[in-house]
Amino acid sequence: MSKPADLVQGTLDMLILKILALQALNEWSISQRLKQISSDVLGISDGSLYPALQRPRTSRMDSGQWKASERNRRAKFYSLTRLGRKQLEKETANWNRVSAAISGIVQLKEA
C-alpha cells in the first residue's frame, strides 16, 4: 500500500513539512512524531513515509545532514529550506481555508 485512502492528497507532505519546521529529524523520528501527534488516526504506514520524503519535493527540505541517530547510528536528518518554509505557509493557509469551508458545509443543519 502507498498512502491511506482517507489521507487527503498532498496532506502528508504538509504534515512532514510542519513537523520539520519544529525540529530537524531523521526519517524514523518523523514517522514516530507523526504517529504521536496524530494519535495514529491518520494510519500512515511506515512504508508510505519514506517515498514521500524522497519525492523531488525534498527540494524543500535540506537533507544533507548526517548525524548520529537515537541509537547512535548514522542517520540522515532533514530540515526545512527557505523554500520549504514558504511552501508550508502556503499549504497551511490553504488547508485552513479548505478545512474551514468543509467543516462549514458538514455542520449545516438538515432541513
Binding site: N26, E27, W28, G47, P51, P56, T58, R60
Partner: protein, 890 residues
C-alpha cells in the same frame, strides 16, 4: 514546478543519475535504520527478536517495492531507465547481428537517400551560393512587362531601386559574361561576372589576397580596368603566385590590374556556373556587346539581387519595390511604360539555370520519401518477427510487474538505437552522394557546372526529424503486437500456423502489400522517365545531329567591328570548306535547342487577313549560305541563301512548312511577300519543320533571313564533317588562329550533344528514379522474403501434415509462391491505382509518353512479378523439403 524548486532539486536528481549506487546505498541504509529502530522498539515491548523482526517487516510493507517507489519518486529514473534501456537494447541488437545489420542497412539507405536529396535541394535551390552570407534573405530582381514577360533591369533603373528601397539591406549586380583571356600568343574563353562595386561587401565574401572593389569603381566608361580572380584561376593560371596583386592580365584585349583573389570555394552568384573572374560595372562596354549602356535606361542587361533587412517579408518588400517601379513608369514613360519590378526567391531566379533541376528535385523529394517508407516498413517487419521471437521475454517482464508503458519505453529505445545508427550511416551516405548530382551532369568545357549539395544545419535538423519519426514508427509497430500479448499465451505450446492465415499476420502482410505498392509506383515512374529519355534521344529534331559540330569564334572580344567581322566570316568559311573531311560550314545567330533566344518579330503576310485581336508574331533565325545543307534540314521548294543575298540585295526569307500551312493555307509561297521588322522580304524557299527551342514543343511557324541582312558579329559556326569531334576542333582552331592569333573558340560540341543537353532533366531524373526504384524493389523483395520465410518456419507442422496426406513437393512450392503472389497482387493493384493518380505529377519531365502508358505499366508488372517469385523461391523450396515424419513426430 517552478524554476526555483527545480534548481533546488537538481543536485539530488543529478546525484541519483551519476551516482545511482551511492544514492541507493544511502536509501537502503536509511530504511534499515528505520527497520532497526522498529525492531528494538518491538523488543522493548516484549516481543521475541524473531517476532519483533517479522512485525517490523510487516508494518513496513514490501521492501523492494518501497525502494522502487523511492527511485521513481527521486525522478532521476527517467534518465536511468533510458540508460538501462540503451544498454539492454544494444545487448539485444548484438545478440541478433544479422537482424540488426539488415535493419540498420535499410534505415541507412532510406535516411541517407533523404539526406542526400535534401542536401541537393538545400545546395541547389535554397543556398545555391557557397560562402555567400544570409542567402535566405536574398532575392533576384527583374522586370515584368505587363505582368507576363520577364526582362532585365537597366543600370539607371537599378540605381533608382537601390536608392529608394529602404527595406533592402543591400542591392548588387552580378551579370554573367564571357571573356577571352589573352595568354601568351593565344586566347581562351572563360566565364566571369560584371558586378557592382559593393558586390563583395554585399555578399560578405572577402578576398584572401588584395581587396574587393571600392565605391566608385563602378562609375564611368571603361574607367576602372581592375579584376578580382577566382581561387581556382589563381591556382591554375598563376600557380598560386603570392605576388599576384598588381599584375595585369589582358581580358578581351584590355589590360586589367588584378586587385584581389577570391577565397577557395567561392564560385560567384550564378546557379550552375563557376565564375573565374569579376570586373566592375564600369567595364561593361568591354565585356558586354552593344555599346556603353550605363546611362541608357532602355538598355536592359542588369542581373541583380537584393538582400532584405531582417524580418522583412517578400510581400512587404515587393509592395515597396512595386511603388518604386510605378514612380519610374511615371517619370520615364518612354522606357518604362508597362514595366514593373518583381522579386524572385533564389530558386526561381529568372536569369540563370536555377529552375532547370527544379522538376527533377521535386520528383526526387517524393521518391526518397517513398524509399524511406519502404525501408521503415521493412524494419517494422523485421521488428515484428523479432518481437514474436521475444514475446516470451515480454510476457515474463509483464508477469514480474513491468508496466506496459515501461515495455513501450524499452521498444522505443530499441527503435531509437536502430534509427540513430541508421541516421549516422545516412549522413555518411549523404556526404558521399552530395556531388553525385553534378557527376550525372554532362561535362562542359572550361567552366564546370557547379551544383554541389550542402550538408548544413538545416539538412541535419531535417534528418534528425526523420530519425525521430522513424523511431516512432518502427518502435510502435512491435508495440502494437505486445498490446495483444497475454500472459498465458507464450507458456502454451507453439501452435502450428496455417500458411497465410495467422491471427496477427495481417500487420506483416499489410506492410508487404504497402511495400509492393510503393515499389510498383517507383518502377512505373522510372520506366516512364527512361522511356521519355529514350524517345527524346531517338526522336529526330529535324536536323542531323551526329556529323555536325557547333562552336563559336570570339571576334567581339578581339575588338572586331562589323565590316571586319563580315570579312572574317567569309574568309573562315572559304578556308574551312577546302579542308579534307569538312563537307560544308555555315553560320547562324542562334543554335536550335541551345540557350540563346531567337529573334522575334510581328509579321504581315500578303493575302493573310489576321483576325481583329490577332497580331501574328513569329520567331526567326539569321542564317548564312549553306546553313540548310550543313544542318541537313531539307528544303521542299525554292533555294538556300547565297552569298549574293547580302545587305545590298533585296530582302529574302525562307519559311518553314508550318508557316506555309498557317499563313499561305498550304499554297506555294515562293515569290510571295512577308513583312519582317517593318521591311518586306520575298520568300525564296520552304524548309522542313524542326525543333527550335525544346524537344517537347509542337511544330510552330518559323522562318530564316540571311545573316548578312540582319547581321550579328558573333554567330555560331556549324561544320558538317566526316571526322571525329577532337580532330574537327583541332582543324577549326588551326584555321582560326591562322587568320588571327587573338581569337578563341567557344565550347565545341556535336549537335547530338546539344540534343542530349536538352534531355538533361530526363537523364538526371531517369537515372536517379530508376536507381532508387531498384533499391526500393530490393528492399521490398527482402521484406517479402522475410515474411514468407517466417510463415514457412511457423507452419512446418501444417506443411508436414499436407505432405503426409499426399501433397507432393511441387504442390507445396506452388502453395507458398501463390501466397506470395497474392500479397504482391494486392500491392500491385493498389500501386496501379496510386500510380495512375501520381504519375501525372511527372508532368513536363515526360516526353511523348502518356503517364498511363500501358506498356510501361505492363513492364513494371512483369518486373515486380518476377521479383516476387524470386523472393519466394527459397522459402518455397524450404517448404517443399519439409520432412513429414520428423515434423509430425517432433
Amino acid at each position: 514546478m517552478d524554476i526555483e524548486q527545480w534548481l533546488y532539486s537538481l543536485p539530488l536528481r543529478l546525484r541519483s543519475f551519476f551516482h545511482p549506487k551511492q544514492v541507493d546505498q544511502e536509501m537502503k541504509e536509511e530504511l534499515s535504520e528505520h527497520l532497526g529502530q522498529q525492531i528494538s522498539e518491538n523488543i522493548a515491548k516484549g516481543m521475541s527478536p524473531e517476532e519483533a523482526r517479522r512485525s517490523a517487516m510487516r508494518a513496513m510493507g514490501g521492501l523492494a517495492q518501497i525502494e522502487q517507489q523511492c527511485r521513481d519518486a527521486r525522478g532521476g529514473s527517467v534518465l536511468q531507465d533510458l540508460a538501462q534501456d540503451l544498454r539492454y537494447g544494444l545487448r539485444q541488437l548484438c545478440r541478433a547481428p544479422g537482424f540488426s545489420a539488415l535493419a540498420i542497412l535499410c534505415l541507412t539507405l532510406g535516411i541517407g537517400a533523404n539526406a542526400a536529396v535534401f542536401s541537393w535541394v538545400e545546395g541547389i535551390l535554397f543556398r545555391p551560393y557557397p560562402l555567400v552570407a544570409h542567402q535566405e534573405r536574398l532575392f533576384a530582381v527583374a522586370i515584368t512587362v505587363q505582368g507576363e514577360r520577364i526582362d532585365l533591369l537597366s543600370w539607371p533603373d537599378f540605381l533608382d531601386l537601390r536608392r529608394n528601397c529602404t527595406l533592402c539591406e543591400d542591392s548588387f549586380v552580378s551579370k554573367i559574361t564571357s571573356s577571352t583571356l589573352n595568354i601568351g600568343d593565344h586566347a581562351e574563353v572563360t566565364t566571369g561576372s560584371i558586378v557592382s562595386a559593393n558586390y563583395f561587401d554585399a555578399i560578405g565574401v572577402h578576398p584572401i589576397l588584395g581587396r574587393g572593389f571600392e565605391a566608385g569603381e563602378d562609375v564611368g566608361n571603361d574607367s576602372n580596368p581592375v579584376v578580382v580572380i577566382s581561387y581556382r584561376f589563381w591556382r591554375n593560371r598563376f600557380k598560386g603566385d603570392p605576388q599576384i596583386i598588381g599584375k595585369t592580365q589582358r581580358l578581351n584585349n584590355v589590360p586589367h590590374t588584378i586587385i584581389g583573389v577570391a577565397p577557395e570555394g567561392f564560385y560567384g552568384t550564378f546557379v550552375g556556373r563557376a565564375m573565374q573572374l569579376w570586373v566592375p560595372v564600369s567595364m561593361e562596354e568591354t565585356f558586354d556587346s552593344g555599346g556603353y549602356k550605363l546611362e541608357d535606361r532602355g538598355a536592359r542587361w542588369i542581373e541583380s539581387y537584393v538582400r532584405l533587412k531582417p524580418g522583412v517579408g517578400r510581400a512587404q518588400a515587393q509592395q515597396q519595390i512595386s511603388a518604386i517601379a510605378a514612380r519610374l513608369q511615371k517619370d520615364y514613360p518612354a522606357t518604362n511604360r508597362g514595366r514593373s519590378i518583381g522579386l524572385w526567391a533564389l530558386w526561381q531566379t529568372p536569369f540563370n539555370h536555377a529552375g532547370e533541376l527544379l522538376p527533377t528535385l521535386q520528383v526526387m523529394v517524393a521518391v526518397v520519401a517513398f524509399v524511406l517508407l519502404i525501408a521503415c516498413a521493412n524494419v517494422g517487419n523485421l521488428l515484428l518477427v523479432r518481437s514474436f521471437v521475444r514475446r516470451h521475454e515480454m510476457s515474463v517482464r509483464l508477469a514480474i510487474g513491468a508496466s506496459r508503458g515501461r515495455l513501450l519505453k524499452q521498444l522505443l529505445t530499441e527503435g531509437l538505437i536502430l534509427s540513430a545508427l541508421g541516421t549516422a550511416g545516412g549522413f555518411l551516405m549523404a556526404y558521399w552522394c552530395r556531388h553525385l548530382l553534378v557527376m550525372l551532369l554532362p561535362v562542359r568545357e572550361g567552366d564546370a557546372m557547379y551544383l554541389p549539395g550542402a550538408i548544413d544545419g538545416r539538412v541535419m535538423a531535417m534528418s534528425l526529424g526523420i530519425c525521430l519519426v522513424v523511431t516512432l514508427i518502427i518502435g510502435l509497430v512491435p508495440a502494437l503486437q505486445t498490446h495483444h500479448l497475454d500472459l498465458a499465451g507464450p507458456l502454451k505450446a507453439e501452435s502450428g500456423g496455417v500458411v497465410g492465415v495467422r491471427s496477427k499476420g495481417w500487420i506483416r502482410s499489410g506492410l508487404v502489400i504497402f511495400q509492393v505498392c510503393l515499389s510498383f509506383i517507383l518502377l512505373v515512374g522510372a520506366a516512364l522517365l527512361l522511356e521519355s529519355l529514350q524517345r527524346i534521344r531517338s526522336t529526330s529534331p529535324g536536323f542531323s545531329t551526329t556529323s555536325v559540330a557547333v562552336t563559336g569564334v570570339s571576334v567581339v572580344a578581339a575588338g572586331y567591328d562589323v565590316p571586319r567581322a563580315k570579312t572574317f566570316q567569309n574568309e573562315l568559311i572559304d578556308r574551312l570548306v577546302g579542308l579534307p573531311g569538312i563537307e560544308s560550314a555555315a553560320f547562324a545567330r542562334v543554335t536550335p535547342l541551345g540557350y540563346g533566344a531567337f529573334s522575334s518579330t510581328p509579321i504581315a503576310v500578303d493575302g493573310y487577313q489576321p483576325s481583329p485581336n490577332e497580331q501574328p508574331e513569329v520567331d526567326y533565325n539569321q542564317a548564312s549560305p549553306s546553313y540548310f545543307t550543313t544542318l541537313g534540314i531539307p528544303l521542299f521548294s525554292g533555294r538556300e541563301f547565297t552569298r549574293s543575298d547580302d545587305e545590298n540585295a533585296p530582302p529574302v526569307a525562307i519559311v518553314n512548312r508550318t508557316m506555309v500551312e498557317r499563313y499561305w493555307r498550304g499554297q506555294d509561297p515562293i515569290g510571295r511577300r512577308l513583312q519582317v521588322k517593318g521591311r518586306w522580304a520575298r520568300v525564296v524557299g520552304v524548309a522542313a519543320d524542326s525543333k527550335y527551342e525544346s524537344m517537347g514543343e509542337t511544330p510552330k511557324p518559323f522562318f530564316y533571313v540571311p545573316l548578312r541582312q540582319d547581321f550579328d558579329r558573333e554567330p555560331d559556326l556549324y561544320i558538317r564533317t566526316t571526322q571525329s569531334l577532337p580532330s574537327t576542333l583541332a582543324t577549326v582552331l588551326r584555321t582560326v588562329h591562322a587568320l588571327d592569333q587573338n581569337l578563341a573558340l567557344y565550347e565545341t560540341i556535336t549537335l547530338q550533344e546539344q540534343v542530349n543537353r536538352a534531355a538533361l532533366p530526363q537523364l538526371v531524373a531517369g537515372t536517379l528514379v530508376s536507381t532508387l526504384g531498384g533499391l526500393a524493389l530490393l528492399l521490398a523483395a527482402v521484406g517479402l522474403y522475410g515474411v514468407m520465410s517466417y510463415a514457412v518456419a511457423q507452419s512446418t507442422r501444417e506443411l508436414g501434415l499436407r505432405m503426409a496426406l499426399g501433397a507432393d513437393p511441387a504442390n507445396l512450392l506452388r502453395l507458398v509462391i501463390s501466397r506470395g503472389l497474392r500479397l504482391a497482387a494486392g500491392g500491385v493493384l493498389l500501386g496501379t491505382v496510386a500510380a495512375l493518380a501520381v504519375t501525372r505529377l511527372l508532368g513536363q519531365l515526360l516526353y511523348h509518353v502518356s503517364p498511363h502508358d500501358p506498356v510501361v505499366f505492363g513492364l513494371a508488372l512483369a518486373v515486380i512479378t518476377s521479383t516476387v517469385i524470386f523472393a519466394c523461391l527459397l522459402p518455397a523450396w524450404r517448404a517443399s523439403r519439409t520432412d513429414p515424419a520428423r515434423v509430425l513426430r517432433g
